[in-house]
């Protein structure tokens, strides 16, 4: 696993250096710190399209640099980045659907191969969990953009409903509604994995 960057200097101090002294080394440090979470979030939002997610992540950080002076510390820096990333993704999502999902199947296929092939000595539980993850990814891809965005912010990024509302630019009630609808669809798509079936395999 790659080494995670150390957080000796607080984000706020690095941001101040960027704004006051146009310090690009400080911004590079911020990118190193947050690239993983932003790229992971975008990979979820683009339903596994890693290439598109990385392009959007790049746009996100460039926009963050340009708008750093408007960051008012009213939210955490990571939450602010999620907001920009989500806006980039929503702008991209307005483009034709086939362009957005063009590479997804291939990417999911690669992930499937990685996920389904467990290491030596790992049991059936691991394979079942991997299969469930794939099913979840496919079910997430079938949600509407709004439902997927709300679920990704609250579960994947572990944001509160209020923080998700800030990121998505929606009222809290709308976020809750989309989460509820999304979960209903996921529950239907993943019903085979419900505990009522008593077994973990569909």
């Amino acid at each position: 696993m790659p080494a995670t960057p150390s957080h000796d200097v607080p984000d706020a101090q690095l941001i101040a250096r960027c704004i006051v002294a146009d310090d690009r080394h400080a911004f590079a440090e911020l990118v190193k710190r947050h690239q993983s979470s932003v790229r992971a979030c975008l990979r979820k939002l683009t339903a596994g399209n890693h290439a598109l997610a990385d392009d959007l992540a790049q746009d996100t950080f460039v926009l963050a640099w340009r708008n750093l002076k408007s960051f008012r510390q009213e939210a955490r820096f990571s939450t602010w980045l999620y907001r920009i990333a989500t806006n980039c993704w929503l702008a991209q999502a307005r483009k034709p659907r086939e362009e957005l999902l063009g590479e997804r199947d291939a990417d999911v296929g690669e992930d499937d191969a990685d996920a389904v092939a467990p290491g030596f000595g790992e049991g059936a539980d691991h394979a079942a969990t991997a299969t469930m993850k794939i099913d979840l990814e496919r079910a997430m891809a079938r949600l509407s953009d709004a439902e997927r965005a709300a679920i990704v912010q609250c579960y994947h990024n572990d944001l509160s409903h209020e923080e998700a509302a800030y990121v998505l630019g929606w009222p809290v009630g709308t976020v809750k509604t989309h989460i509820l609808r999304g979960k209903q669809k996921l529950k239907a798509a993943l019903s085979a994995w419900a505990p009522a079936t008593s077994t973990r395999t569909p």
Binding site: A28, R39, K44, W65, A75, R76, S160, K183, Q184, K187
Partner: protein
Amino acid sequence: MNARSTPIPEPQADWLDAFLSAEGVDDRAGYIGDDGFTARVMQELPAPVSVPAWRRPVVVALWLVAAVVIATMLPGTVLDVTREFVRLFAAIPFSLSTLGFGIVAVSIAMWTATAVALRRD
């Protein structure tokens, strides 16, 4: 933004909640390696605005030229304005504390202007 509202528990969806939460924890624990991503972002940033070194002296010289031109073209007006300024300030009685305060105020203004100019450069 730190106040968290707990999702309303749905008995039927508890297993899904638990699974989504566990997925989120797994995903957050997994770090995506940089692999040149930061370098690509830094290349995409707009180039820093560089102000040429000759700009400031040229601006000062242009202002001086403009002042000389105005003084040459409108000598009467310049003399009148100067006279009024002298009369205005001569009418105000200066104490030592007022003078000190004025010097401090002018110094602060100069330092601030210099700091702003250096920051922009």
